[in-house]
Amino acid sequence: MAFPILSFIILAPLVGVLAIAVIPKQKLLAIRSTAAAATFVSLAGSVLICVLYDRVAGGMQFIEKLSWIHSIGISYSLGVDGISCPMVLLTGIVIFTGVLVSWSINERVKQFFINLLLLSVGAFGVFCSRNLFFFFLFYEIAVLPMFLLISVWGSGDKYYGAYKLTLQKIGGSVLVFIGILALYAVSGQNTFDIATLSRAEYLISVQKILFLVLCLGFGVLALLWPLHTWAPIGHAAAPTAASMFLAGVSMKMGAYGILRVAIGILPEGAKAIMPYIAVLAIINVVYGAIVAMAQTDFKYIVGYSSVSHMGLVILGLATLNWVGISGAVFQMFSHGVMTAALFALVGFVYGQTHTRDIRELGGLAAKLPIITGVFVLAGLTSLGLPGTSGFVAEFLVFMGAFKAYKVITVLAIIGSALTAVYVLRVVRKVFYGPVSKKWENLNDATAFEMVPLLILTGAQIFFGIHPGALVSLINIGAKAVAVKAGGGLL
């Protein structure tokens, strides 16, 4: 048997959790370094699988399987394809940079990193699982620690935010759980194995109902309108690293669930329901942008921008064609690193100015040129400027979507042009403008603080200039889904 690299990626943060648990709580540096080391190992592993993935062979690779409860087909079964590889990489990047930006956390450091690392165990697990039982288990692991992260280390109306976010997500999980059990029951295959379930035959009516249930269930995490309100409220209350994880990874778990479970197992249901989901997706895009334009809280702006951008992901999925799905996955990656960067920057600015109200900020560029530069760059990714990963993502989604939904696509292009309005509004209000005396004591990012920002920005630029590195991977996985759902190239 080959080296179990996927288990290695998933378990590294878990080992980190155990190690942190036995380190005395006064040894802050040891705790932080352990967290950084554990997540770095996962990051290195995730880079490795993206590089080593055999693009010619395609399909599921790095497969591991241990039967657990044989009678009902539950097994610890892992594998990654062209879609999950970039998601694992995204998780690795976001969690490692999340640990680095949390260096300055001083309250209950030990528990903080334990919770943060647990989240990543869940996320890695979701993206690697080939068995629905473990998929759901990991899915929940990636939800629950967030409650503690927000309610203990959060700010503002943190209890409301924590409850809201957790309950809404669990509401979605209930639908997902019902869907998974129903799949098990109606397939008659006596298994939770995704590949087997997707080969089973389902009545068209069953497909439609179950697809809808799963799509709405995963839709909560993927910010499908109108199930999205946990995001801005939760983000506003969450500590920086939790926000980065929420927007960077959690939302992608929802979209990934739609792709892998709902579309992958129920392609006929997808064909019937997706045109309606596409309508919700366009509402996401335009509505999110419009609401973002009216916000004054920095985090709400970024939060609603996620509502808009996740709409593009869902629109890409709704095309059910090869290019559109590739675009959706590219956008999942691109939005993940971009929004993680934005939240890291918001956290940085808040940490120094103690306000997130953009009306009170202003003129920061003179004191924080590096932070400004990184923010403008992430903003450009957000508005899809060529040369950043955001352009490739949006371009592929639009190309795929135009064939399937002409009017909706034009609206989506208009909606994503609105991104420029709120991004540049923030740049103008927060960073441009007269230099204020208030900000005389601000310090630009130190070399250490630059590391996570460089990683996140580097990813946006690298995959913007050399998108082939990711597209060559993604399109393999997207093809399999598109073929199953009967969608063509475009």
């Binding site: 809201k164 309950l167 809404q168 509401g171 109108p226 199930l227 309100t229 409220i233 509505y287 419009i290 609401v291 334009m293 009216a294 916000q295 090869w322 290019v323 590739s326 003129g363 560029a365 003179a366 450009l380 508005l383 400027l385 060529p386 040369g387 352009f391 490739v392 371009f395 592929l396 639009f398 190309m399 135009f402 064939k403 696509t409 034009v410 292009i413 208009i414 042009a417 420029a420 309005v421 540049l424 509004r425 740049v427 103008r428 960073f431 441009y432 403008g433 007269p434 230099v435 998108p467 082939g468 597209v471 060559s472 399109n475 997207a478 093809k479 190239l489 475009l490």
Partner: protein, 606 residues
Amino acid sequence: MTYVWLIPLIPVLAFIVLTFVGRKFSKASAYFAIACTVVAMVLSYVAFFSVLGGSSFHQAFKWFSISSFKVAVGVSVDSLSALMLIIVATVSVLVQVYSIGYMEEEDRFSWYYAVVSLFTAAMLGLVLADNFILFYSCWELMGLCSYLLIGYWYEKPEASSAAKKAFIVTRIGDIGLLVGIIILYITTKSFNFNTVFSTHIGGGIATASAILLFFGAMGKSAQFPLHVWLPYAMEGPTPASALIHAATMVAAGVYLVARTYPIFQASPTALNVVAIIGAISAIGAALMAVVQNDIKRILAYCTISQLGYMMIGLGVGSLTAGIFHLMTHAFFKALLFLGSGCVIHACHTNDIFEMGGLSKKMKITSWTFIIASLSVAGFPGLAGFFSKDEIITAAFKSGNYVIFALALITAFLTSFYMFRLCFVAFFGETKVKAKKAQEAPLSMTIPLIILVIPSIAAGWVAFSFGNFIYFKHPHAAEMNILVMIASVAMGLLGIVLAWGIYYRNWISDEEISRKIGPVHALLENKFYVDSIYSFLAHKVMIDGICSGFAWADMKIINRGIDGIAQLINWIGKELRLAESGGLDNYTLITFGCLALIMFYLLTLIF
């Protein structure tokens, strides 16, 4: 000709180096950027002359692909792109040399050069692009550079909001461009220019995609109704305005139409749209220029107006005339802007009525400026005369007499407002701000002197130009002596009138504006277009729709979801009452249920 790849890549190198280590070099960063652009310029001239010698070049690499959906990075050199290369590279070098003096006191000196280098790279890449995606990418990067340069003095609120406005308005145009590109791909299965043009495109699709592409061009080239950003863009440093907002980037829209001309030729409707929008922009902007007092704003409206001319040329079917005017305009407008930069540098004001008498204090600046003004006014023999005359002739020949008439009137207005500017700023009594004015340093005046040459002589190639540019088919400029006389007369009339009002003071301009009160108000308020947009953007969109949606999101959608939670909570509370803890209650319920079950079983039996 593989070296062509280096033309855009060398300025990219300058951008990267200056962004990361420019601060340490300060002044040296200018020399580095200039050296890089000079290399690009030399290579451009080499490419130009080999195209003149009959060679061409095309090479493409895969960028990324999904099966047969392929996106390439490719360059192609033909006569049109070769011409654009030398225009862009030459003006960029001159502007950068000029900027050494103009920008020397700035803190972010190397950042300025970094962005100008990136802009130069993007524009050179744009003209070399062999496909829509590379074209669009460079197009957007130019927009970014424009944003960064307009907002160069970001501490000034006017500059930062002008930058934002420029980016957003051009982005609105880009929506059309992108949709047009997508439609063309769906129709032809390719992004490559040659493949798209050689595929037959049906009439309706051709019209739709041509107009959508043109919408993008309207944003970039500041054509009505997307012209509003350009006058505000003058908040940026003047040399940047000269390069980006006068000579090169704003002409990219014209270049786009010229590059995709086969699609426009397939649709007479689309060509008409181009001509009409061009004519409206030409005369509208010229009218607004007449009442401006800010030297840069006058030039900005002049740019819109001249770009409108180019669009007229393209729209009435004369690619040659449009591109010819693009070339001559690039030189004399760059000269005008650089000249205005010297003036502003010397007087510390933009208001022409605070200057006066500068021709004695700043001889080189004044006289080069006046020559460029004569060129833009179409004075016989100068560059602008040939190109403008070609456009007006083409409009006449196409039979669009309305557009022809508008073009003629615009010619009159152009020479009037340009010489209003000249007489007020350079002649007459010296006002306070101009008292201490001195001629600019050599690094600033030498570019002016160099630019005078093409501003005079660039038109002399008129007769061979058409043959060169028009897809290599003979397409020489045609002359119509009557049209020529008419346009020259209009130009001279404008100069004489400006001379009479602003030099000899036959009649005070204040009196005129009183007499035509409502018209003057209309022009001063820019036909109320800016106010309408501002109302729509701020009151209707932000304060109305956006705030309304934001309110609804929290108060209706979010409350609704909270309501579900509260409902569940309430049900739980109510059901809890059933768990009273009293044994009698439980017994009652148990027996009740048992009775129901027995009743059910009995019904089964009987």
